[in-house]
C-alpha cells in the first residue's frame, strides 16, 4: 500500500512538471492559434541562460538562484517571446495549421542550433533548489524542489485560468486569435495582446525548463523533447481548457509512474488515444490564403527534364570521386522521400511529422526479403512500397476525421510508437540489417543512376496524377472539404488512398535508402529525423518536384556542411530554422521563388499582382497624431 502511495506521489510530481509545460503551450495556442512545437526548445534555451547567470561565467560569482530565476523568467524570456512574435508569428494566425507547424519546427531547430553555438557541450551540473532536503510521504522522499514544482504548476494553472477567464486582458487575448480586426474595432490593441501572449508563453516555458533541469540536466534535446509528453496533456484539454490540461498532465504523470515497464510508450499512447477518441473541437483551420498555384509541366517537358537529370547524374558518377557520388545518390533518395511529402502535404494539405517512419518500414521490408530467392531486388523494392502503403492506410483509418494540427500530432504519436515498439523488435537489439541492391546496379555510380531513374519515374507519375482527375480532386479537398462534401466526393476513400500512396512512395524510397547504405539500424528512422525532412521539404517547396529535389539535396548537404565547417556548428541549424521560418509562410518555398524569377524573366509586362487586402492594422501611425484625440463633442 505504501508503495502505491509512493508511486502516486512521484506521479504527481512528474505530472506537475508536465502541467507547467502544457499550460504555456495552451496559452500560446488559445491566444495565437499557433501550436508552438518549439515551446520546449524555448524552455531549454532559457534553462541554459539561467545556468549562465547562476553558475556560468557571465556574472562573476554567479547570481543567487532567486535573482537568476527572476531575471530569466521575468525579463529575458518575455523579451525573447516578444522577439519571436514580432519576427515570426505575427501573420501565422491566419495561416493553415501546416504552415504554422513548419515555422515552429523551424524555430525548434534554430534554437537547438543557437544553444549548441552559445554553449558548446561540456559538463554543466545543475542542483535542485533547496538542496537535497525534503518531506517523506509514503516511503518516498519528495524534495522541496518537487514540492515547489507542484506549487508552481498549481499557481500557473490557477493564474492562467483567472487571466484568460476573468480579466479583460485575458479575454481580449483569446479574442485576438479569433479575429484581430474585430478586436481592433472594439478598441483593443491586437499587437500588444499578441506580444503579451507570446511573452507570457515564453516565460512559462522558461519556468518549466528551469524547474525540470535539475532532474533532466542541461541537454539540448532532452528538455526540448520533454514537452512532447506535454502535448498529450494539452490535447486532452482540447488546447483551450486549462483545468482539463492540468488533469491530463497529472494523469499522464501517474500512468508513467505506475506502469514503469511501459514508461516510454505511455505519452505516445496517451496522445494517440486522446486524438482518436475524443471528439475533435471544431478548430478554426484558418483560410487558405491564396496559395499561388505552381505550374505543372506537361508530359514532354517532364520527359525531357527527367532524361536530362538521369544523364547528368550518370555524368557526375563518372567524373566525381566515389564519396561524392554516394552523397548525390543520398540526396536523390531524400528527394524521393520528399516527393511523398509533395503528394501528402503539397497536394493534399496534410502535415506528416513521421514520414521517415514509412521510409523505415520500406527499408526493413526489403531487408527482410532481400536475398531470399523468390524476391529479386526490384520486386523487393515494390514489396517494400506495398507494405508501407498498407501501414499508411491502416494509420489513416483511425485518424480519418482529424485534420490539420490534430492530424499532424497523430502522425507524431504514430512515429514514436513505431520507434519504440516496432523498430526495436524488427531490428533486434543493437543489430543492423543488411539490405541488398539490385545486382545490375551494384556499383556506386550505377546505383546513383538507378536512384535518379526511380526518382524521375516517380516524379513523372506524381505530375501525371496532378494533371489528372485525382489531382484536381485532391486540391479541391484541400481547399474546401465542405464544398467537396456537397459535390458527393468520396472523401474518405480518397484520403485513405492519399495516405497509402504517400506512405508507399516513402517506403519505396526506403528500399532505395537501405540499398544505398548497405546496412540499416533502428536509429536511422527515428521520429526526430522526420522533422528536418519536413522542414526542408517546405523550404525547398512542397508543392513542386523541383522543390523536392532542392530539399533533398540540401538535407543531404546539411550535416556535411555542419561537420566540415565546425565554426558554423549549430549555426547551420539556426540558418535552416530561419530559412524555414521565412520561406515556410509560402508553401511554394524556394522553388516557387525560382519559378517566379523565371516567369518574371520571361515576361515583359508585369501585371499588377492581386494580392491580399492591404491592412493597416499593423501599420505604425506615424503620420497621424491621434494621441488624445476624441471625436466626442466636448460639452
Amino acid at each position: 500500500m505504501s508503495a502505491l502511495l509512493g508511486y502516486t506521489v512521484l506521479g504527481l510530481v512528474m505530472g506537475a512538471g508536465y502541467a507547467v509545460a502544457a499550460s504555456g503551450l495552451v496559452l500560446t495556442y488559445t491566444t495565437s492559434r499557433v501550436f508552438n512545437v518549439a515551446h520546449g526548445a524555448i524552455g531549454m534555451v532559457m534553462a541554459f541562460c539561467y545556468w549562465e547567470l547562476s553558475a556560468g561565467g557571465l556574472v562573476p560569482g554567479g547570481l543567487p538562484a532567486w535573482a537568476a530565476v527572476l531575471l530569466v523568467v521575468g525579463v529575458i524570456a518575455p523579451a525573447f517571446g516578444l522577439a519571436v512574435e514580432r519576427i515570426m508569428m505575427r501573420r501565422l494566425t491566419e495561416s493553415p495549421a501546416g504552415v504554422s507547424l513548419v515555422v515552429t519546427v523551424g524555430l525548434l531547430v534554430a534554437l537547438i542550433g543557437l544553444a549548441q553555438t552559445l554553449w558548446p557541450p561540456t559538463a554543466r551540473p545543475v542542483e535542485p533548489f533547496f538542496g537535497a532536503g525534503g518531506v517523506r510521504l509514503g516511503g518516498v522522499l519528495v524534495t522541496y524542489h518537487d514540492l515547489l514544482t507542484i506549487g508552481v504548476s498549481l499557481a500557473v494553472a490557477a493564474g492562467l485560468y483567472l487571466l484568460l477567464g476573468r480579466t479583460r486582458t485575458g479575454i481580449a487575448m483569446r479574442a485576438v486569435a479569433v479575429d484581430r480586426d474585430l478586436l481592433a474595432l472594439h478598441g483593443g490593441r491586437p499587437r500588444l495582446l499578441s506580444s503579451l501572449s507570446w511573452a507570457v508563453g515564453a516565460a512559462l516555458a522558461a519556468l518549466a525548463g528551469i524547474l525540470l533541469t535539475p532532474i533532466v540536466q542541461l541537454d539540448y534535446y532532452e528538455l526540448t523533447l520533454l514537452v512532447v509528453a506535454a502535448y498529450a496533456a494539452a490535447v486532452l484539454g482540447r488546447l483551450r481548457s486549462l483545468p482539463l490540461t492540468f488533469a491530463g498532465a497529472v494523469v499522464l504523470g501517474l500512468l508513467q509512474s505506475y506502469a514503469a515497464g511501459l514508461r516510454a510508450a505511455i505519452p505516445t499512447l496517451f496522445l494517440f488515444a486522446v486524438l482518436v477518441f475524443l471528439p475533435q473541437v471544431r478548430l478554426r483551420s484558418g483560410g487558405i490564403r491564396g496559395i499561388a498555384a505552381v505550374p505543372v509541366p506537361g508530359p514532354r517537358r517532364v520527359a525531357a527534364a527527367g532524361l536530362a537529370l538521369v544523364a547528368a547524374v550518370g555524368l557526375a558518377s563518372l567524373l566525381l570521386p566515389t564519396v561524392q557520388v554516394s552523397r548525390l545518390a543520398l540526396g536523390l533518395v531524400y528527394a524521393t522521400v520528399m516527393l511523398s511529402l509533395v503528394l501528402l502535404t503539397g497536394y493534399g494539405g496534410h502535415v506528416s511529422l513521421a514520414q521517415f517512419t514509412f521510409v523505415g518500414v520500406g527499408a526493413v521490408t526489403v531487408a527482410k526479403l532481400g536475398g531470399s530467392p523468390g524476391w529479386p531486388s526490384p520486386l523487393a523494392l515494390l514489396a517494400g512500397a506495398a507494405v508501407a502503403a498498407a501501414v499508411g492506410a491502416l494509420v489513416a483509418l483511425p485518424v480519418l476525421r482529424l485534420t490539420g494540427l490534430y492530424l499532424a500530432l497523430a502522425t507524431l504519436a504514430f512515429g514514436q510508437l513505431m520507434d519504440k515498439v516496432v523498430f526495436q523488435t524488427a531490428f533486434g537489439l543493437g543489430e543492423s540489417l543488411p539490405v541488398p541492391r539490385p545486382r545490375e546496379f551494384a556499383g556506386e555510380g550505377a546505383y546513383a543512376v538507378f536512384v535518379a531513374a526511380v526518382f524521375v519515374v516517380m516524379a513523372a507519375g506524381l505530375l501525371a496524377l496532378r494533371r489528372g482527375r485525382i489531382g484536381r480532386m485532391l486540391v479541391a479537398m484541400r481547399d474546401s472539404p465542405a464544398a467537396c462534401a456537397t459535390l458527393g466526393l468520396n472523401q474518405r476513400g480518397l484520403r485513405i488512398g492519399l495516405f497509402a500512396a504517400s506512405a508507399g512512395m516513402a517506403g519505396l524510397a526506403g528500399g532505395l535508402f537501405g540499398g544505398l547504405r548497405g546496412t540499416i539500424g533502428a536509429a536511422d528512422f527515428q521520429v526526430f529525423k522526420s522533422l528536418p525532412l519536413l522542414l526542408l521539404a517546405v523550404v525547398g517547396g512542397v508543392t513542386s518536384v523541383t522543390g523536392a529535389l532542392l530539399g533533398g539535396l540540401v538535407l543531404m548537404l546539411l550535416p556535411i556542411l555542419q561537420s566540415e565547417v565546425p565554426a558554423l556548428g549549430g549555426l547551420v541549424f539556426l540558418l535552416v530554422g530561419i530559412g524555414a521560418v521565412s520561406l515556410g509562410r509560402d508553401p511554394g518555398g524556394a522553388a516557387s521563388h525560382l519559378f517566379r524569377a523565371g516567369r518574371w524573366a520571361r515576361s515583359l509586362v508585369v501585371r499588377p499582382p492581386a494580392g491580399p487586402v492591404e491592412d493597416s492594422t499593423d501599420a505604425p501611425d506615424s503620420r497621424v497624431e491621434t494621441e488624445g484625440m476624441s471625436l466626442r463633442a466636448t460639452p
Binding site: A123, P125, T322, P434, G521
Partner: protein, 372 residues
C-alpha cells in the same frame, strides 16, 4: 603510400547530437602520429593523418570509410557510435581498420576490423563478478541491473547480466531504461522496496548521473553502485557531485591518475597536450593511442614491403597487446574481450584504485551466449 610517407585515416564521431563525443580518439591518434614522426616515423617514412568525421550517424560513417578507402592506407584508432555504417564498405575495399573499439556487432564481425579495446558482445571477464562477489558476498544475491534500452547498450547489458548470473549473481530487479526517460525515482523506490543491496548500470555516464542522483535523493544507499569504464570520465565526476561518490568502476586500462608510474601514460598525456592543448584525455582516446601505437609497431616489423594484406595478417597474430602497459592485455587478433580488469572507486571526487594493488586481475572469460 609512398616511399617517403604513409597516409593513415581516422574516422570518429566529431559532430552530431552530442558534438565532440569521440573527438578524443582522433586527437589521440594525432598525438601518436606526432610522437612517431618525432621518433623517425615508420622505417624512416613519415606518417600523414587524415581526420574524418563520421557525424554520429551510420551514413556518415559509411561516407567517411569510403573516403578513407580511397585516400589512406589504413584506418587507425577510429571510434564511432554507429560504426555498422561503414562495415561493408571497409570490408569490400579491404582497408585495415584498427579501431579503438568496434561498437556495433556489424562492425565487430568485419573481416578487416580489429579493436585494441577488443570486445565481443557475448564475452565478459569473470574477474568482474568474482571480485564483487568476494567483496560484497550476500549483497550480490539481492542485486539490481539497469541498462539503457538503446542500441548496443541494450545488448551489452543483457549479455553482462547473464554473465554475472553464471558466476552466482541473482538479479532480483532488472529494468530497461528508455533513453528519453528522465525520472528514475520510481525505479529507485522499487529497488528500495525489494531490499536491493547491489546496483549495476549499463549506459552512458549522463544517465548514470541521473540514477545516482535519484538514489541519493531517495536516501537509497546500496552496498555498491557499479558502472562500466565509459563512466571513467571527468564529466561524470563534475556533473554528479556528491551523489556519485562511492561509485565503483571496473576498468581494463591504466589510470590517468597513475601517470607518474606509467611511462606510456605520460607519453599519451604530454603529446596530447602538444597537438591539442587543453584537450581532455579519455578512456576512448587511450585505446585510440594504443591502436596507433600497434599500427606503427606492426608496420615497422613488416618493413619496406608494407601491404594491406600483410598488415591484416600481422594483426591477426596479436594476442596479448598492452601498448607497453597502457592497458590490460587484449587479444586483438582473435577479437576477444580481455579477461583482465582493475577496480577503482570514486572517493571525494578522486578515482582511487581498490584492486589489485598494481596492474590487473586476470581470470576466465565467460560466454553469456547473447550476441555471439
Amino acid at each position: 603510400m609512398t616511399s617517403e610517407a604513409i597516409t593513415i585515416a581516422n574516422a570518429s564521431d566529431i559532430s552530431g547530437p552530442q558534438p565532440g563525443i569521440f573527438e578524443s580518439a582522433q586527437q589521440a591518434v594525432e598525438a601518436y602520429v606526432a610522437y612517431a614522426n618525432s621518433q623517425g616515423g615508420v622505417c624512416g617514412r613519415k606518417l600523414n593523418l587524415i581526420g574524418y568525421d563520421s557525424r554520429t550517424d551510420a551514413g556518415g560513417d559509411q561516407q567517411a570509410t569510403t573516403q578513407a578507402c580511397e585516400r589512406a592506407f589504413a584506418l587507425v584508432g577510429s571510434m564511432a557510435a554507429f560504426d555498422s555504417g561503414g562495415a561493408r564498405t571497409a570490408q569490400s575495399c579491404g582497408i585495415p581498420d584498427l579501431r579503438a573499439a568496434a561498437v556495433t556487432p556489424g562492425r565487430q564481425d568485419s573481416r578487416v576490423t580489429y579493436g585494441t579495446n577488443s570486445t565481443k558482445v557475448n564475452l565478459f571477464a569473470a574477474a568482474v563478478p568474482d571480485y564483487f562477489r568476494s567483496r560484497f558476498g550476500g549483497a550480490t544475491k539481492k542485486a539490481a541491473f539497469l541498462y539503457l534500452n538503446a542500441g548496443t547498450a541494450a545488448i551489452n547489458g543483457r549479455s553482462i547480466m547473464r554473465a554475472h548470473e553464471q558466476r552466482g549473481f541473482t538479479w532480483i530487479y532488472k529494468q530497461a531504461v528508455d533513453v528519453t526517460d528522465f525520472n528514475y525515482a520510481p525505479y529507485v523506490v522499487e529497488m528500495k522496496q525489494q531490499g536491493i543491496r547491489f546496483v549495476e548500470f549499463m549506459g552512458t555516464h549522463q544517465h548514470a548521473v541521473r540514477l545516482a542522483k535519484a538514489m541519493r535523493q531517495q536516501g537509497f544507499r546500496p552496498d555498491a553502485f557499479v558502472l562500466d569504464p565509459t563512466s571513467y570520465d571527468e564529466r561524470y565526476v563534475r556533473t554528479g557531485g556528491s551523489a556519485v561518490d562511492g561509485t565503483y568502476v571496473f576498468i581494463n586500462s591504466a589510470l590517468f591518475e597513475e601517470a607518474s608510474s606509467n611511462r606510456e601514460m605520460r607519453l599519451y598525456l604530454s603529446w596530447l597536450n602538444k597537438v591539442a592543448p587543453g584537450a581532455t584525455p579519455t578512456w576512448f582516446g587511450l585505446f585510440a593511442w594504443s591502436a596507433a601505437k600497434l599500427f606503427v609497431r606492426l608496420a615497422g616489423e613488416i618493413g619496406a614491403d608494407l601491404t594491406r594484406e600483410k598488415l591484416l595478417a600481422k594483426v591477426r597474430g596479436v594476442h596479448a597487446w598492452t601498448a607497453d602497459g597502457l592497458h590490460a592485455p587484449h587479444d586483438v587478433g582473435a577479437k576477444r574481450t580481455s579477461p583482465c580488469v582493475a577496480f577503482i572507486q570514486l572517493r571525494n571526487g578522486k578515482w582511487v584504485r581498490r584492486a589489485p594493488a598494481r596492474g590487473w586481475t586476470c581470470g576466465a572469460l565467460l560466454n553469456s551466449g547473447i550476441g555471439g
